[in-house]
Amino acid sequence: MWTRMKTLAMSVVTIAIALAPGVVFCQVTVVPPVKGNSQSTGAVDESALRYYAAKKDAARVELETRRLKRLNPRWQPPVDLGSAEIGGGDEDDLWDLFAADRLDELQATIAARVAAQPSWKPSRDLIEKIKQKRLRDEILKGSKAGNWYEVSSLSGRLNARASAQDTELMWTVAEGFARIGQFDQAGVLLASALEGATDGPVRTAVVLRAFALLPFVDAEKLLSQAQRGPNGESEFDAIADDISRARISAILRDEGGVSLTPEQHARLGVLGRESKEPTYSELLGWYALKTETTDEAFDWFKLSISRGGEAMVAHGLAQSLLRRGQLVEAEDVAHAWRNPIANNSIFFTDILETKLTLEIPPEIPGERLTRYAKETVETQSGEGAQGLAWYSYNSCQYDKALEWFERAVAWHPKETTVYGYALALRRLKRAREFIEVVNRYDGVFPMVVGLVMEEQQTKPGPCDAAQSQQPIRATGKNANQREVRAPEPTRSIPRPEFGNAVSASGNPFVRPGFPASVNPANPLRFSSRGAGVAAGSVAGAGWRAERPNVKWPLVARRVRGAIAMPYERFGYSLLPGIDGVDQPETRTVAEIPAALGTLWSRNSKINAANVTTNTPANSANLTSPRLMRSYNTPAR
């Protein structure tokens, strides 16, 4: 309805203009007509009024004042109305260009005129207005490009009074401040924009923007600026549901000072059930997970999906299923929605991985494994690969295990993964590769190095027992479903103690070939990508040449952060490492708690305060070698 009135009023004005020759209007604020911008602000345009006042046309001033008041009930005529003066008529054409937004042409015209008539100067007003308009354009452009720092910086040059009525400009600048985290500033601007806006839908839009950009408690303050109806109802009652949605979102983001009353929760529940959109039910699902009402969460996410909820909703559903112990269903949901967001793929991979890496693995149906393998390869997941590798290994399928371990070590060379890789190589009697791996991780992975040490002969595992005590089961289609049971208890015959036996030569290494010189680089790569990625395909062309083969040391040097190597207790020492570090770390990376105040430490059961810090003495002299860039120009 308001649009109809406005159109009518504009038509009146249009006719009036058509009748008056050579008419000029004042423009106090500039709201360029923007095509298709349904958020046009309808700022009160006092141009005509000021013009009439300047012309001392009292009758027209009266008419125009009444017209403006009709359109904008809260508007008051400006106090400086009578003091307006028309500038020199010789600027009419310049102002025409200004109003038409042809600023480049305008500035060119000015320059030309100054050149032609040295005594002529453009009015201060025109210059100032051009500046402000340019600034406005820049701000809007910056906003579209997402240059929020620029937007907030430019806003400092705005003429405060002139821009106060310009709602679009105000909320653009407010967004700039909000996006860079200056919420106080943003709040002030939005409050100001609300103050200056008279049009109902525009005011509502400002408030909605505030809830989208500001912390909830800051946006909520704007509601006090609501216009009240005769029975005290607020103009913003109509968006109460949007505000509730913002409220629950704020709680999910852990914003302080926001809570949900049971009534508000109930109201959201009604919205969730009744709405045709998935948003409310999704939010309620996350809220239920947060408040640990898992069954409710499950119901809400299911509902949200049925209303069109997508990947993130599916993620919530999968989470709920997992918490209810429904692993297979959780996996199915995550798998179905693995494409749109990484969360679901990661979730899928990690759910089954825990089962796959059990020492005595459970029975897992072939299709489930096939699906898992496919996803592992598609996402090049080291976690998935090592899961399948261990599963294969503990199911006594060493060839398969080796294949998966190779990929796992290419993508995810953690200690247990490399250890498994070495074990598989040893099982398959690939002695050369086995010893190469052990040498490669000397100094880093004590578990791996331990494989060549006398006292760490691995005890017989279920596969050995199975092989020695039971006939091998049928191969073929049931091969990967062969049952593996722990060995039957035998008569209790003591085994010789391994203990601290040392061989006659005093050498604790039982395997030949350690230590040996090896290239420290891990050569494993696996990619499902297409052509053009083959390593070494184009020898030398376009790449830096590596130095030719050099002899690498036989003695490991200390890796900062690594724990002691198993041979150290036999008196073998390591070379000092980076920054001269020569003591082993006493805790593995996994055992070191993250700093207090991080999310990890909040969630972790290992609290740093409870762990005695036992860091090596020289860590206090922690100088980063990265400081030691030496960029002396080489002698040439």
């Binding site: 500038g87 985290g181 989208a212 830096r544 993250a594």
Partner: protein, 393 residues
């Protein structure tokens, strides 16, 4: 004071405004109930639009800005091996997570997927040996073992995660998106201190910099605040407030300025709510810190109220020669004379004055080492992606 108000309003302007309003009028049906619903729909759309744009600000695309550019081929042939190792030629030919990350970023910029795969492949195979998702930072080709330190260096992890985000988008590859998320979440989880006197903080490494690990801790490295990366990491890990981390980092940079020329040092101690140069590190603004203005400008942080006097103090605005500065005395200790560093000034001039990119910086100088060459390509990429109007000289 008499205000001279001279104005003009073209007939056509009014007409077009009327037209716009006419269009609006046609949108809203005559029936009031329907009008309300239309309005409600509009509101939902506004709210939804605002909601969906809640994520961090848009950043200009990096992918493709160096495509077909010979400078990339030059960089690659000088600093990247076939196996994907990025070589720090001035630093005993070692590799580090930072270099791998830079290499991955520049490969995406050049749309060189082969190079990206090789560099990422090398990174995973050799540096991801920690029992978490972070990247061991240092690697030496001549020692046993190759890894020199199991600690991570947070700028390396951030660069790698950012590059994977860009690559996932550029090549529509899920594998990169999955990897990016794993790393970014780990950074958010283990390396961001959520609340402190200075707001959110970014720890430079998982070990050795926290308040528990150092008597002057927490210690931060201000050149690890990679502002353009923060604008993209929400794509991998939206649950962390990268925008706030950015903002708090900027505030910290402005607060932690010392000495005669008010420059930040690199390693900054924050114990007791008072920033100070961290013990055991040289209190200089040098090789590492020169990236602070680079990252800021790259992220579009160019306004005087944010980058302020930093460009003048550092010389990036051309007011003084670039050098390693002893912050307390303000005296230059060593010139940053390699041409690559001047690319940061060129970027500044492009961003702030619209000056054309100097032709000389379209090639890597003959004896240039990895680090200044890398900064040069990064600055060039930033100028093209955000200020294409600066052109190439």
């Amino acid at each position: 004071m008499i205000k001279r108000i001279a104005c003009a309003f073209l007939l056509s302007a009014i007409a077009s405004m009327a037209l716009a309003n006419e269009a609006l009028a046609n949108e809203a049906p005559a029936n009031e109930a329907h009008a309300n619903e239309a309005l409600a729909n509009k509101r939902v759309k506004v709210a939804a639009a605002a909601e969906s744009s809640r994520a961090a600000p848009a950043t200009p695309k990096l992918a493709g800005v160096l495509v077909q550019n010979p400078i990339w081929k030059s960089y690659r042939s000088r600093f990247v091996t076939e196996s994907g190792r990025v070589v720090d030629t001035a630093n005993a030919q070692i590799s580090h997570s930072e270099g791998q990350g830079y290499g991955m970023l520049l490969a995406v910029a050049a749309m060189d997927r082969d190079a990206f795969e090789r560099i990422w492949g090398w990174t995973r195979a050799n540096l991801m040996v920690r029992d978490d998702q972070l990247v061991a930072w240092a690697w030496d080709p001549a020692t046993r073992p190759g890894v020199a330190d199991l600690n991570n260096a947070t700028d390396g992890d951030i660069l790698i995660a950012w590059a994977l985000v860009e690559a996932a988008e550029a090549w529509k590859d899920r594998a990169y998106a999955v990897a990016a998320r794993r790393i970014a979440v780990e950074v958010g989880r283990k390396l961001i201190i959520l609340q402190s006197d200075e707001g959110m903080l970014l720890l430079p490494g998982a070990s050795g910099y926290s308040a528990e690990d150092r008597s002057d801790g927490p210690v931060v490295n201000l050149s690890y605040y990679i502002f353009p990366a923060f604008q993209r990491l929400h794509l991998a890990a939206p649950e962390f407030n990268w925008a706030k981390l950015s903002q708090d980092g900027l505030k910290l940079i402005n607060r932690a300025r010392f000495g005669k020329v008010a420059l930040p040092v690199e390693w900054t101690a924050l114990r007791g709510g008072q920033p100070a140069a961290a013990a055991g590190f040289p209190a200089v603004f040098g090789y590492n810190a020169i990236r602070i203005p680079l990252y800021m400008i790259w992220a579009g942080i160019v306004g005087e109220n944010v980058i302020g006097t930093l460009v003048g103090a550092s010389g990036v605005d051309g007011s003084r020669p670039l050098s390693v500065v002893d912050v307390a005395s303000g005296r230059p200790v060593e010139a940053l004379s390699s041409p690559g560093y001047s690319a940061i000034s060129a970027l500044h001039d492009c961003a702030v004055k619209g000056k054309r990119w100097p032709a000389a910086l379209n090639d890597i100088a003959p004896s240039e080492h990895y680090y200044p060459a890398t900064l040069q390509l990064l600055a060039l990429s930033a100028s093209i992606s955000r200020w294409n109007s600066c052109g190439r000289g």
